[in-house]
Amino acid sequence: MCGLDFPTDSNVLVGLSRADDAGVYKISDDLALIQTVDFFTPVVDDPYWFGQIAAANALSDVYAMGGEPKTAMNLVSFPLKRMDLSVLREVIQGGIDKVREAGVVLLGGHSVEDDELKYGLSVTGFIHPNRILTKQGLNVGDRLVLTKPLGTGIVNTAIKGNLASGEITRKVTAIMAALNRTAATVIREYPVHACTDITGFGLIGHLAEMMQGTGLGLKIVLEKLPIIDVALGFAAMGMVPGGTHKNRSFRAHMVDMDEGVDPAMQDIIYDPQTSGGLCIAVAPTSAEGLVEHLQSEGVEHAAIIGEVVDYPAGIIQVV
């Protein structure tokens, strides 16, 4: 949004000047407000699960900032003329159940009539001003920890193509609907230097945002990546969403990867994620302990996927 002059004041701790997962506004010396909004068109056929996923996705931005979501408002676009209101009811029920699971209250919302269904939430959370986690702050040697498996974009494409079984659909739905709450709670006890959530720009896109302006580089180890196991097979069949290709053409110049890497694996690292996991930069001596702690709390796919290096700067090496 170049050239637009956004109003600001001295209490804006994280704002548009350095786009992050959410905005943060200082209320007092020990309290800041985190605000975020996100909504999208259905990613799964089942309206109830779409509601859950949309809510988990909106809440995730607060978790990615290290905060605790407190209140939420519904955002709804609904095609009244061609869809039964019972569908909307189910979507919102999904959202309510997810919000309740997060310990968040729903204060209201707004609906408009539209050509297609869209749903999401605006979410407000709290955080101590000194404990904000942003994408900035990488240190050399930090280990990168990812908390959800990659490949939701590819598997969702395969679902659209009727290639995925009901079991696979349920599995990927559960992954997308899982809150990043446990991960966000656990990381408070560790020396975490930076954090973001992996969504539409894919793993590489969000890593690139963490790396930008740091003068450092990243090294990612493919065999350590948590991946939804069937995603590689689907990618090999060409079930790859357009976003994967867009993400690749936007970021490929920053990535150093052997050309011989399996093309399906190359797609995984650029695959746009819906309600993906947190990517956490943590001090090296604490990384193993963090992953074990995450797994013991039920974040079963958590894994160390790479590290921050001082050379070559501005490059994501993929080995």
């Binding site: 193509g161 290639l163 060409g238 790859v240 994967t244």
Partner: protein, 215 residues
């Protein structure tokens, strides 16, 4: 066979037109999903997909290869024609989907009437229901079940054979239902099981089968 020849020629002409997809202006995954729909509904021996961007070319190419086609690409500037040849015989088992095990032998059963045998039609209809119900005993060797002429009536809404046919299809058996025949009886909209097919696919299946049983 004069009548039969004529039908198959008409279907061949229709075939060539229908096995081309113009996916220009579409972004991923639409081109690959359209290709998949065509390959699954018709199992053509040759497919041509016209796309106007590299990612779509790559996805369509990968998909056709995964389905057993040999592919090559004609490029003219920003336009790519992805051509797949030689597929359409046996679909690859798709990951995650239930696929029947690879059998030693391929038996094709061709059902050309809605009842079994001649003499008493009522008895013939009962026998046919029982026949379809018992077909599963062939196990994995049962490879294709083809319905032509009044046999297509076994695949429509309300047919006494429908439930058993659905069970066979869910277990991975490919059911082919003659489109010309459905059309002849005005039943195109009423078919509830199997893939609508044409004479070329039926002839190809006969050629690939180890045994063809006519009912």
């Amino acid at each position: 066979m004069a009548v039969g020849d004529k039908i198959s020629m008409n279907l061949l002409i229709e075939d060539c037109e229908l096995n081309k997809i113009d996916a220009r202006g579409l972004s991923c995954p639409a081109p690959v999903l359209e290709t998949k729909a065509l390959v699954e509904s018709r199992r053509p021996r040759q497919v041509e997909v016209l796309v106007d961007n590299e990612p779509a070319r790559q996805n369509v190419d990968r998909f056709l290869e995964s389905q057993g086609y040999r592919t090559h690409v004609d490029q003219a500037g920003e336009l790519y024609t992805v051509i797949g040849i030689g597929g359409g015989a046996v679909p690859e088992p798709t990951p995650g989907a239930t696929a029947s095990a690879i059998a030693e032998k391929r038996i094709m059963v061709m059902v050309a009437a809605d009842r079994m045998g001649t003499g008493d039609d009522l008895l013939g209809a009962k026998l046919m229901i029982n026949f379809i119900k018992t077909l599963k005993e062939m196990g994995n060797e049962l490879w294709r079940l083809v319905f032509v002429n009044s046999g297509v009536k076994l695949t429509i809404d309300g047919a006494g054979t429908l439930e058993d046919l659905k069970v066979l299809e869910e277990a991975g058996l490919i059911l082919l239902v003659c489109g010309t025949c459905l059309d002849h009886f005005g039943l195109l909209e009423k078919k509830r099981v199997g893939q609508t097919t044409n004479m070329l696919d039926i002839v190809t299946a006969m050629q690939l089968a180890d045994k063809v049983i006519n009912i």
